[in-house]
């Protein structure tokens, strides 16, 4: 492990004020990503993967509020930084690829112009050279005939091409950290493989740290060196990919792996996870938010969650983990 990670999130808690009560979306979320490393945030929908990313980027919904925690990027705490500071950091040091490229791109600007905008604002590129460099970026993300494609609008491109443009925009200013929020949902498996190759290759080339958010455990396993499993706003397990698959320690992780269709030889072999996510508006949430679904529940589950020291490589938030 290197001395200073690219991003170090510690004790992040986020609440949303809604009409029906306060939703405790994240509670004490901690993880770190090293320079040049790719980690994956994995969990079911509603587990808080995207909220984590949005909180770090400072683009939470106005109803959401960070109630505790730090997110250190170099010497800067992103969670307490001023909006003007954040605006400089976003795009230049952290970039994000969003889930749906069609809605994330500006529909009334050509894609070349959108890339040029980032280059001018964050990449110290003179206005005159920006269009030419935008074409170069399009070439780098594998778009054929980039000079012509730079002048088209997002609706004229396929989903895979739009996602490539998103990647070009995200990487235009050579950020230190890339957050990819389900970059391939809605794309075909063949396109997914190509896009993920592209992200991996470019990240390696630029020595960029990547946080890859997905609900597809198999895809996460293929693309990251470490996996952070989330459940109902908690990090339940954080381990190197290979070890997580071979020796999952949190019961939830084990169930997730058993529910993934790829591993099974027949349908009967697939295990389902009983119960559903707890209602995060409840005021009587147990310390372990999985305990009500958990087959390995013990008495000590009523105590605050154990948090293994940050120096161990395999962190599990459970009183009765699998050995």
């Amino acid at each position: 492990m290197t001395a200073t990670p690219a991003l170090d999130v510690e004790g992040l808690s986020v609440e949303f004020r809604t009409r029906s009560g306060i939703v405790r979306a994240l509670d004490n979320v901690s993880f770190a990503v090293d320079k040049g490393e790719t980690i994956a945030l994995v969990g079911e929908s509603g587990s808080g993967k995207s909220v984590t990313a949005y909180a770090v980027m400072g683009i939470l919904d106005p109803a959401g509020k960070v109630t505790a925690g730090r997110a250190m990027l170099g010497g800067l705490d992103l969670l307490s930084a001023k909006p003007s500071q954040l605006a400089d950091v976003r795009g230049r040091e952290i970039a994000m690829i969003f889930q749906n490229p069609r809605t994330a791109l500006n529909p009334i600007r050509t894609v070349g112009r959108q890339i040029a905008d980032v280059l001018i604002r964050h990449g110290n590129v003179p206005r005159r050279d920006a269009p030419a460099q935008a074409v170069e970026m399009l070439r780098a993300v594998g778009i054929t005939d980039p000079a012509r494609r730079a002048n088209v609008y997002p609706f004229e491109m396929s989903g895979g091409m739009c996602q490539r443009v998103m990647i070009a925009i995200a990487l235009a200013a050579k950020p230190l950290l890339l957050i990819a929020d389900e970059p391939t949902t809605g794309l075909d498996v063949t396109t997914q493989a190509v896009i993920m190759d592209l992200v991996n290759d470019l990240a390696k080339e630029m020595g960029m740290a990547t946080i890859f958010i997905t609900h597809d455990l198999a895809l996460a396993g293929q693309r990251s060196s470490r996996i952070v499993v989330m459940h109902a706003g908690h990090v339940v397990e954080n381990a190197p990919t290979k070890e997580l698959f071979e020796h999952p320690r949190h019961p939830y992780t084990a169930e997730l792996i058993a529910a993934t269709p790829d591993a099974a030889a027949s349908l009967d072999e697939l295990a389902s996870i009983p119960g559903s996510l707890p209602d995060l508006r409840r005021t009587d949430l147990p310390p372990c938010r999985y305990s009500e679904r958990c087959p390995r529940k013990v008495e000590s589950c009523a105590r605050p969650l154990p948090h293994a020291g940050a120096d161990t490589a395999h962190i599990v938030a459970c009183w009765n983990p699998l050995s």
Partner: protein, 344 residues
């Protein structure tokens, strides 16, 4: 086994540009434009059968014509050409509007992708399931209630949820409503269009197991449309692989996934992420598919994207050829056939 559904040479073409109406045609004629509009070949000359009690998977990328084919089979749209026979009765001749009141309407039912979008938001779960029973079985009163509750129970939907509206149900419960609605009228063929695409893995498992159970209980045949190959592998007996409106490969699911003969299927199988990665260099498909607008009938649809493509692929369209139960439309399929066992 007997064939339940026979699809022969079905095509569906859509004209593009200009609009199809009589006024548009009139304008074209007098403005010197082309009399005939270019056409998108959404489904091009597709033939296959579904046997009684069989589960057939249909896979392919978006835009390959899966949904058009499925809509044609379920008679939601009319085909341009070809025949669709259910138990030897020709269905394709009746316009889809007429077929909506046909006696065979109840025999082919469909489960749509996201029940949250496909169930009328103003219908309670009860009404959603009761609707086809009212229309097709003419059930009323107690008989209707009894039938709806029976189906709901069969699909594992708690009866107290029947009075709820779709937005008050979870994703898994909505999926159950979609399935209950489709099986309520006792179909022989159930067409499932990515029924689990919007669900989390944990819920997906439960729904897949439900479908498996219902199939044996009711004795339906399934046509399962999906792009998730690992799900198709588990659920289906046979698979059809589609590319740009044509079936390029078909055969027993296990065989197709273990030993794909068409380069497209090979790329598709290779692209599926696996939990336990073996680190083998994978085949990658880059680029975009060819245009489906008036494609050259003599060029293989996969040409240009195919890693194996040669000149002959540009001059002759490969036909589906049989290799035992396995069919493939590629000139070079022999290269990938498993070597005959030699005694050593």
């Amino acid at each position: 086994m007997t064939n339940l559904l026979e699809v022969a040479d079905v095509s569906k073409l859509y004209p593009v540009g200009g609009g199809p109406g009589p006024i548009a045609r009139f304008k074209r004629r007098f403005s010197g434009g082309p009399e005939k509009l270019p056409k998108v070949h959404a489904v091009d000359d597709v033939s296959f059968v579904i046997e009684k009690g069989e589960t057939v998977g249909l896979v392919g990328e978006s835009g390959c014509g899966k949904s058009t084919l499925v809509r044609a089979l379920t008679r939601l749209i009319d085909v341009s050409d070809g025949s669709i026979k259910l138990d030897a009765r020709e269905l394709s001749l009746k316009p889809s509007r007429v077929f909506a009141r046909d006696r065979d309407r109840a025999r082919i039912q469909m489960v749509f992708q996201d029940a949250g979008d496909s169930v009328n938001p103003r219908f309670t779960a009860f009404d959603a399931i009761a609707d086809p029973l009212r229309r097709l079985r003419k059930l009323r009163g107690n008989a209707l209630t009894w039938q709806v509750e029976t189906v709901a129970r069969q699909c594992g939907l708690p009866l107290q949820l029947l009075s709820r509206f779709p937005h008050q149900l979870s994703g898994g419960q909505r999926a159950r409503v979609g399935i209950a609605r489709a099986i309520a009228v006792g179909p022989d063929l159930l067409v499932l269009d990515e029924p689990t695409a919007a669900l989390d893995v944990s819920v997906q498992v439960v729904i897949l197991q439900l479908l498996q159970r219902l199939k044996t209980e009711i004795g339906m045949s399934y046509l399962f449309v999906s792009h998730d190959l690992s799900v198709v592998r588990l659920l289906c007996d046979r698979v059809l692989v589609m590319y740009l409106g044509k079936i390029v490969e078909s055969g027993p699911a296990k065989e197709v996934f273990e030993n794909p003969l068409h380069p497209y299927t090979q790329a598709l199988v290779a692209a599926v992420p696996r939990l336990h990665e073996d680190g083998i260099e994978r085949l990658r498909l880059d680029g975009e598919p060819r245009s489906p607008i008036d494609p050259d009938p003599n060029v293989c649809r996969f040409y240009g994207r195919c890693p194996r493509g040669t000149d002959s692929c540009q001059t002759t369209m490969p036909m589906l050829r049989h290799f035992g139960p396995h069919q493939v439309a590629c000139h070079f399929a022999e290269e990938f056939l498993p070597k005959p066992k030699t005694t050593t």
